[in-house]
Symmetry: none
Subunit: 191 residues, 4 copies
Amino acid sequence: MTAPQRRNPQTRDAILAAAFELCHERGYAAVTIEGVAARAGVGKQSIYRWWPSKGLLVLDAFRDHLDPRLATPPAADLPLAGLPELLQRTAALLSDPRYGRMLADLVAAAQHDPALAKDFHEKVYRPNREGTLDRIHRAQRAGELRDIDPDLVADLLFGPLWFRLLLMQSPPTPEYANRVIETTLAGLRPA
Amino acid sequence: MTAPQRRNPQTRDAILAAAFELCHERGYAAVTIEGVAARAGVGKQSIYRWWPSKGLLVLDAFRDHLDPRLATPPAADLPLAGLPELLQRTAALLSDPRYGRMLADLVAAAQHDPALAKDFHEKVYRPNREGTLDRIHRAQRAGELRDIDPDLVADLLFGPLWFRLLLMQSPPTPEYANRVIETTLAGLRPA
Amino acid sequence: MTAPQRRNPQTRDAILAAAFELCHERGYAAVTIEGVAARAGVGKQSIYRWWPSKGLLVLDAFRDHLDPRLATPPAADLPLAGLPELLQRTAALLSDPRYGRMLADLVAAAQHDPALAKDFHEKVYRPNREGTLDRIHRAQRAGELRDIDPDLVADLLFGPLWFRLLLMQSPPTPEYANRVIETTLAGLRPA
Amino acid sequence: MTAPQRRNPQTRDAILAAAFELCHERGYAAVTIEGVAARAGVGKQSIYRWWPSKGLLVLDAFRDHLDPRLATPPAADLPLAGLPELLQRTAALLSDPRYGRMLADLVAAAQHDPALAKDFHEKVYRPNREGTLDRIHRAQRAGELRDIDPDLVADLLFGPLWFRLLLMQSPPTPEYANRVIETTLAGLRPA
DNA sequence: CTATAATCGAGACGGTACGTCATGTCTTCTT
DNA sequence: AAGAAGACATGACGTACCGTCTCGATTATAG
């Protein structure tokens, strides 16, 4: 038993870059394994060897280009454990022309691709969700939030942002994120 | 000189039924014009003659089977102009195994199909949205809601429901809808 | 039940012509369904719709271009029922640069393609064989040949021609065919 | 300056055995360098290092398993210098289920592989041919055969055998070989 | 008794072609 | 006309092998 040739990182990078660029220039629907292979100067097999589907490839390409932005900023000792900042950053990402459409398309593709859905959850959704829940906990312990199921709180805050991205023509701005959090904090009932 | 034959309603119905059933049994991604034609016992041309794309066909099939459920119930003189009931009905629809997935798939497909997006907006989204805004107005005039941009209010209420349908594994239940409206009304700030 | 669109003869001809030309210019091994489709300006499916394999396609292309030459000339009342002429024509065909190689390649491909073997037999081999056996019969009845199993006689006459085509570098010339028939008639035993 | 490691005979044998067996079980067309490597438990490179093509590999595998049978038996002082025996042995080989098909496939492959054709000629065809010509010479000198071009004589005797192997469904039996030689000796002309 | 260099297994890689599927357009014939 | 049937050019799918390449591990002399 001897060691085989290892995965070539240049190939990997060329593929991810090509996927990302194509997704950008022509949109997710126009991304094609053949197109990615051609643009990356790579055989199709080299894609299928490492990624089982277009969806997971684009997801990886997305994450490869985004890592720093996805990192949740420190909870610090900001008011509300930094929840307002987090919400604004999310809105900025969703409305960023480079990433918003791609995220929307990935979420869309995940609707009929369980493997993609699973990966999206584990690699993108869950990490962010956990950071969010942690912040909510801190804010609750600090007495800044009512003692409600943090999962519900997270939904109330982030649901409207995704709603605008996916169902309306206009993705959410940071300003919109502010109005969401302020209104949610205060409630809808008249004083 | 004879009159041209008009559109055959049986053909139309067979196509819509086939599309709906296929979408159900195998999922939106597996719906195919050829498959619909075969199942409906119809020539492909008879589909292309009347629908420009798979997305719009499925949307029509969906609406054909759903019309009564989509009709917004009367605002009546329920508390909050019936907003809680509306939210529950929506949650019930989104979590209905027959319609939830299909709606999610349609919204997903609309992400990269402008024509479908347009139609979905005009035929599904806007009518419901207008009913919602109307209710919010009434509730505000009745002094049951603060005087905030009704669009924002609508987002805050419905965003979480779609968020659960599209981004989480579990679609929203009517019970969940209740918690959303109650919490939103009261706000997150501790008493 | 209505009538579908019929097979388009122009498509058929373009495919056969492309196959024949490619087989010529680059040899049978280099003939490719994709190549034929490209050269014929045709979709691959249009080839697969009508031919199950490359071998049968090339065989058809061959026959399409050859029909007149394959037609056995009349037995007439030539000596030996025209067997010498038939043998010469065969040799001429096998050594014709346009058809010899192609025939050799088809026979070769038939070695591991039962469907091709079957078709080759029915469409090429058998018709010629039957003509040959008929001539042998006539010659026997005319007292010009001994009364031996005509199948064996046919093998003795044609075997050497194919032997030269398939196993030696040099295909048989009509002159060679003459020597074969003369020697076979006279036998190898010294006088 | 040190001596390189020599070729490993176990590897060589494993490859030839795998090639031979695969060619048997699935037929020449299904033999694949990758398949041979897998079956032999060998890297592909170890095949490409020593054989330039599938054809030459299979030819080697064939010869490796056959050598004794291919050796022409001694001309002895049998009648006709043992030509009848040689013809029967050849027929037996061509109709042997283990070797006939393989030989046919090799001859077939040689039609569009000059390197294979060359090797087949030098290693298989020519040695046998020379033995045959030698026998014919002896028989002629012994006055048992007419004084005709020995090459033609060889063609007349062996052509029919290969004809049956390559163009008809049934390979030649030793009994058939007998009829060939007897009839050829006597000639086709009536007495 | 090392040092070195070819052999070997494994398998990644850029390619080419495979045979299949669905697209949207077209043509044909039937009602 | 509208409709069922399906041929057609197109283009992507995912797979199979090709022949080349790189990667350690493994010998087997030549120094």
